[in-house]
Each structure stands twice: as C-alpha cells, then as structure tokens.
C-alpha cells in the first residue's frame, strides 16, 4: 500500500467537526484543496467531476460569505447548488429539525451543508440522513471546520509549513466556533496554541484543550507565527463580559506596534467580519501581514475539496460490491502480486 492510498475515500462520511480527524486526514484534505486552488485561477473555473450531484446549502443563521463560498465551490465542481436560508424555510414556521431532515432526505441530495445557531444541529441532521453527507458550516458555539481548514491552508502557503508554529487567538474565544475548530486542528498537528482575552472570555477551561491562556497581549504574542483576530460580538455586549468595546480595544486591539515588537515575523488572519480599530488596526488588516484575501480565496478551494471527497466517499460505498473493471484495479495491488509471482 502506498502512502497516498492510506486514506480510503470511504474514510470521509460527514464533516461535522475537526475534533476526531487525524493528522493524516487533515493533510489529505489540505493537499486536495491545494489542487483546487489551481482550478480557481484558470480561465475556465469549472471541472465536470460532480455532474449530476446535488448540494443543498441549508443556512438557518445569517451568512453571506460562507454560503456564497459553498455555493461557488459546488458550482465549480459542476454540482447543482440549492440555497435554503432561514427566513425562507419552514423552520420559521415551527418545523422541527428532524422533520427538516426527513424532507431533505426525500429530495435525495448528495451533500447537505448546514449552518445552525444550535450546537450539534448538523450531527442531528446527519443521524437522520441515510444517503447524504453532511457538512457543518458553523453550528452554535461548537465548530466551524471548513474555516479552520482554510486557515490552515493559508498558513501552510504563507509559512511553507504547518508544524512547529505558535498560533495566537485574540478576542472572543469563549463564543467562537472558529477558535474551537482551530484549537482542535492545531493541537492534532502538535502546534502551540495561545488564547488571549479578558479573563471573562479566556477562561481557565481552555487549558483542558491543551491551550495556553493569557490575559495580556505582550507575553501572548511573544514569538507568534500566526495571530488570529476573533470578532467581539456586539450581540453579547450587554452581558458584562467586557465593559465597553473601547475598553477592550485599549488592551486587546492587534496593532502593528505590538506585532513589530513581539512577533515581527507573524502573519495575521481573521475569519471576518472584523471591526477596524476595535479588534484590529486598519494598518494591520491592510498591511503585508494580513492574509485575509488569501483566506477567502482558499475558502472556495477547501470547500471544493470537502464536497468532492464526501461525494467520492458516498460513491465508493455505493459501489463496493460492483465490479470495478480491470482498468480500474489498484495498480499497487497488481504490482505487489507481480512481485510475488516473480519471487515465487
């Protein structure tokens, strides 16, 4: 068995989170995504591989960026993408999630991409869909796996490596599914992860995830390779986690001055949207450290890779008993036999 074949297509059933993925699976996803970045730069940005497949984008929480990214990804693979958003669906009319799953199942989509405000909603949908693959596009405070994957691909391209790095997450890590997915991913890869925020947000509980917790920017940033800015969610402001955004900004805004002093080589990422001057200085987000545009570009490639591998996994399972035909037999197997025959 060659190393390339170590992960069979059937290994990818759903993508519900980064937690539980192996280092090999993460690398396989990223290597596949890398190929799709090339397709996105061609004149003809489309390959026919998923012709006849249907992808339903079920977005029950407002999102333009992620939904558009998934839609473009499906279309560039020649799959048909159907968007269902929160206010246009029966969910607002009181339908339960399980009934939604049942309705979806009857329409026989190949992939269901779901964003939901409740943690675990994609998992529940997945349990009720027997023949479709489910992709978590962000669920409550739980995970946002494709975001962590696109961040990882961006880091890999910018630094040339994904190992031995120090990643610093700044901002509302407590209510960030992006933070959680990134923590899982970089802990599996053996990287150092630091969270920095006021004590109300960067709680000691994070230490159980193998993360260093800081409340001051200077020691947190020291020697960082990647600094990630997480959004301070305005909707939580009344809940006394931080007194005001101005006060937060005074202590935790990512500035060029801080970076130049403590992490001069670092790159800066943001899942967007970001609040200029509060979480991150304009000079940083518009400067050479910022890989924000690359993140958005890589988002399409990562989502193409995820949809492609899930569809391939579904097909592989469906055809396990069917005859693959001689041309399609695994070369390695034949070569092994050949070597055997010659030796004997």
């Amino acid at each position: 068995m060659s190393k390339e074949n170590a992960i069979t297509p059937a290994a990818f059933r759903h993508l519900l989170g980064i937690e539980g993925l192996s280092r090999d699976q993460i690398n396989y996803l990223l290597d596949t995504a890398e190929v799709f970045t090339d397709i996105n730069r061609r004149k003809i940005k489309k390959v026919p591989s998923l012709r006849g497949k249907t992808v339903i984008n079920l977005f029950l929480e407002p999102s333009t960026r992620t939904r558009t990214s998934f839609e473009i990804a499906a279309k560039r693979l020649s799959a048909d993408a159907v968007n269902v958003s929160g206010d246009s669906s029966s969910v607002t009319k009181g339908e339960t999630l399980i009934d939604t799953a049942r309705t979806l199942e009857a329409m026989a989509p190949d992939v269901v991409v779901i964003r939901h405000s409740a943690s675990g909603a994609p998992q529940l949908i997945a349990e009720h869909l027997s023949s479709s693959a489910v992709v978590n596009a962000g669920d409550g405070l739980h995970e946002h796996p494709t975001q962590a994957l696109l961040d990882a691909l961006t880091i890999k391209q910018a630094l040339g490596t994904l190992s031995g790095i120090k990643l610093v997450l700044v901002g509302d890590v407590l209510r960030s599914r992006v933070a959680r997915s990134n923590i899982f991913l970089h802990r599996v890869l053996g990287n150092k992860v630091v969270v920095v925020a006021p004590p109300t947000l960067a709680r000691p509980e994070f230490e159980a995830m193998g993360v260093e917790v800081h409340h001051h920017m200077e020691p947190a940033l020291e020697g960082a390779n990647v600094v990630m800015s997480l959004r301070m969610k305005k909707e939580y402001l009344g809940q006394s986690f931080v007194p005001t955004l101005e006060e937060y900004s005074h202590k935790y805004c990512i500035t060029e001055k801080l970076l130049a002093k403590y992490a001069p080589e670092s790159i800066v990422l943001s899942p967007g949207p970001f609040i200029r001057g509060t979480e991150i200085e304009s000079a940083v987000i518009d400067g050479p450290r910022s890989y924000y545009d690359a993140q958005v570009e890589n988002g399409v490639a990562v989502r193409m890779a995820v949809i492609y591998l899930l569809c391939r996994g579904l097909s592989a399972r469906a055809s396990t008993e069917s005859d693959a035909g001689m041309e399609d037999l695994v070369d390695d197997e034949i070569i092994e036999e050949l070597a055997h025959a010659k030796a004997g």
Partner: protein
C-alpha cells in the same frame, strides 16, 4: 484473489521499451516537421514518466527547448463510482499556452479510450490546441470510444480477461510490460 492465475508473461523488456520511446520520438518529429510548436503532455502516473523520456529524447535529437506538461484526469473521469482506487488528486500542470499548439498526449496503455477522453476534456479547459496527437507504449485494443493512437510502441492483441501492466523504473522496482490471464483457475 487467491485462486487467480499468477503467471505474468513479459511482452516488452526494458531494452524494447527504450527503443520504442526512441522510435516514437523520431516519429513525432517527422510527422510535425520538427519540434517547433509542439508540447509533450503525460497522463499521470506512468504516462507522465514516459512523456519525460520522450521529451528528453526530442531535446537530444533537435537540441531545442520543448514544453512539457502533465494532466491529472481524476476530476474529469466519467465514473466517480469506481473510485475506491482513486489516489490523491494531484492537479494538472500545463506551464505553456495551449492555444494553437500541437499537443502530444502520452500514456502507457491504450485500452477503452476513456482515460484519453478525460485527458482531452482536461486539456481543452486550458485553451484550444491546434491539434492533439496520442502516443502510447502499448495499444491493447478493446476501445469503447472512437479514439486511436498516432504513435504506438507495440500493439498487443489481448482478450478482455487479460490484464496489462506497465512497470517503469521511475515509479516501480522493475521495468517491462507484462500480460496476465485473470480467469479463475479450476481448483
């Protein structure tokens, strides 16, 4: 797989492969009146290695630079379902302008023609070549599409139950073309 006949018969030896590659290289140059305006493109995996050998040969004969590319047909296959054997998608690399160029597509074995069909689709996504020609080391027959090779190392008449395997030193421990009967042995 235990009750499958294991007798592999060598149909082309290392030296014969070398001579075939040399002859094909000369034929390509003869047919196209030199190396001007041609590009050599291999189909992953073994077609890529053969393309490199032909490319090297052509440069040695003509002492001029010729573009070399590689296509990965994984995303252009018509059978996502038979995918248990599909390795990592590795991408297509055509570092030259495809428009108005004569592309010589290279693969190890020509069988149903479906791989070539996929490769044609992949190339056409990059532009409009003047022509596409096909060079293969082995033509084993049994076409399922109206596709033929312009340059053939060796035509080997085979039965559908036979299997052809090309081994090249770039990716295998051995070099040669082997044929095997896959019918089950009566036990």
């Amino acid at each position: 797989m235990t009750d499958v006949a294991k007798e592999w018969k060598q149909v082309l030896a290392k030296d014969q492969i070398r001579r075939s590659v040399t002859r094909i290289s000369h034929e390509i140059l003869e047919r196209n009146g030199g190396a001007k305006n041609i590009a050599i493109v291999g189909i992953r995996t073994r077609g890529e290695h053969l393309a490199k050998r032909i490319h090297e040969k052509i440069i040695a004969i003509e002492s001029t630079e010729v573009p070399l590319g590689v296509v990965d047909i994984t995303l252009y296959r018509d059978d996502l379902s038979n995918s248990s054997d599909q390795p990592l998608v590795r991408g297509t690399d055509l570092p030259f302008n495809v428009d108005k160029r004569v592309i010589v597509l290279v693969d190890d074995v020509l069988y149903t023609g479906r791989t070539v069909r996929s490769a044609l689709d992949a190339i056409i996504d990059f532009g409009r070549p003047k022509a596409v020609q096909l060079a293969v080391l082995v033509d084993r027959g049994h076409r399922e599409l109206p596709i033929r090779a312009d340059y053939v190392g060796k035509s080997i008449p085979t039965a559908a139950h036979e299997m052809v395997q090309v081994l090249l030193t770039e990716c295998d421990e051995d070099e040669g073309v082997y044929l095997r009967d896959t019918r089950k042995v009566q036990s």
